[in-house]
Symmetry: C2
Subunit: 378 residues, 2 copies
Amino acid sequence: MFTILKKDKKTKARLGELKAPHGILKTPMFFPVATQGTVKTLSNEDIIDCGAQAVLSNTYHLYLRPGLDILKKAGGLHNFMGWNRPILTDSGGYQVFSLAKLMKVKEEGVEFQSHIDGSKHFLTPEDVIDLQLSFGSDIVMPLDECVHYPAEKDYARASLKLTNEWAMRSKKRFTVDRSRAGGGDKSGPSPLLFGIAQGSTYVDLRREAIEGLTEIGFDGYAVGGVSVGEPDELVGDIAQYALALLPEDAPHYVMGVGTPVDILEAVSSGADMFDCVMPTRNGRNGTAFTENGKLVLRNAIYTDDFTVIDEGCDCIACRNGYNRSYIRHLIYASEILGLRLVSLHNVRFYVKLMKDIRTSIEQGKFTQFKEDFLKKYR
Amino acid sequence: MFTILKKDKKTKARLGELKAPHGILKTPMFFPVATQGTVKTLSNEDIIDCGAQAVLSNTYHLYLRPGLDILKKAGGLHNFMGWNRPILTDSGGYQVFSLAKLMKVKEEGVEFQSHIDGSKHFLTPEDVIDLQLSFGSDIVMPLDECVHYPAEKDYARASLKLTNEWAMRSKKRFTVDRSRAGGGDKSGPSPLLFGIAQGSTYVDLRREAIEGLTEIGFDGYAVGGVSVGEPDELVGDIAQYALALLPEDAPHYVMGVGTPVDILEAVSSGADMFDCVMPTRNGRNGTAFTENGKLVLRNAIYTDDFTVIDEGCDCIACRNGYNRSYIRHLIYASEILGLRLVSLHNVRFYVKLMKDIRTSIEQGKFTQFKEDFLKKYR
């Protein structure tokens, strides 16, 4: 399912292709985040215009709203939202632990109250696999406990033991149920199941986690528990040593990462897949990514700046001539168009960055590209 | 500047063309409302996709934010917002009287505090003309006092006397300043100045208002003070008798109207131009217009309705297959895409209604069209 097309000579960066039911993902790649079945402020046409290959959606959110019943009746999440490219669904582990109320972790699964209406729920790892297969997800993630930073080592160890047990049960259920996955062409590629390696900031725990997962065997491996409150400089460190431990021939996914700098560093360390709310969340705050760093469009300096966000950019906002002064006005006037224009620009920036990374690996110029990018960006 | 191309035989409906600096408006027509320089939730590309010929913006809002200085530096409102079709700017009379704080009407002008930051302002009718000419508006409206329903006759009479005096001063200033209007092609058509007829629900006052305005002479005439709190059935009545009093060869604009039914009735009475927040405001509430009446997409009945808003519709939302169940989900999940999809649909519905009205007048079938439409819509 995963083919490495080319390896960079100076770093661990690699160019690859991952076959998913709804299409082939060219890696390294970035998933815009469509938590509730929509990339915030953007339509499917917008996301496609940005060049995104796939989106990430969230099992916890979709399970609570609109709920499995509606998604089943719709014929899966792809039909429901009208998106026909691959979808990765996060298991919701992170959300259960961060959003839900009165959460209780048991060996059997996790008990929680909905953050929307307080209703009580109990989900096992098996339930979470069943949900994602019913959604018709292309890439399925097992239920895990996402440990926040800082975490005591004993707690991190016990937690990862549970996460790996859940991973085993998830694999078992997935293997049985794979055949009845919704959505996609049944004769085409099957959905993929990834393992999630936890272990907080402890190298030996990360190793233990990954050894356990590799023994079970997954279609890809994710580094979880990164960007969960640790200092910026640790993000790269954790990603680096966790990535070094992953099976080389499988796709490597660094969850929830990150800044353009984090992404470049992680690609150097062998990462293939990323997701992050940063482009859309920053977009809604009026902060735009450019090759020369971030622009805080709320700043007074842009009051009478009638240039587009980034002259060289081909996103919908820039190519249609929306200027910084106007976008700043929209943000201060609480006009939704402002949020959408900056989100469009930022998602395009991230997608373009990944494309440039792929091109540079293909041309054997990744290190040069990375250096040039970082020099301008910083 | 205004040419009547065809008159309906059974009603007072007429087909016309109005030349404005940024283009010719085919009438009867509808202005989507871009109060703060953006049609809420929509981009320029969206509005053009809906087929809108022009938008309406608001002098009071733009004067307060972003302010004259920025709009001048931008080279006018068209450049600022990147919109190259005609713009009508409302004078802001209605907003000063409804939004601003501590408002005082004096003969010289109107004193008020900004609803945004409480700053004090004083605007004369001359200031309001200057502002709109600096914005580069295609159609300029004079400062008026918009009397709400119900109004005592004495008050309504005194108010309209002031409004007509302001209209006289506006005309004088406009005539002097027309040459230095910003935006547009200076060698092309000049901006237009419309008069606004007030007079509340009193026929004799409406007559007095219109006689005064006609004596001054304007490029077009607007019926103001409609849809200001009066019972639904009065909207049509006021529009009807005010329209009957307007000079036949000038364009007739019924401000702030209205429902599809109100629009059809007013067209029958000789109206050429309309603006209303209804399509976008309803859009943001999740209420969609269709030929068969309104759909309240929040209703439970749409929970598992996977059809598009309106099968026959060619708007961005319908032609891309966004279904009612998904849009309902977006609205409940407070996702911006939901607001935009229904707004797109509704603006397209209004623009298409006006186009169908024009076609029916052209083909001598307006009465038939109106009857057929009302039968289905109600």
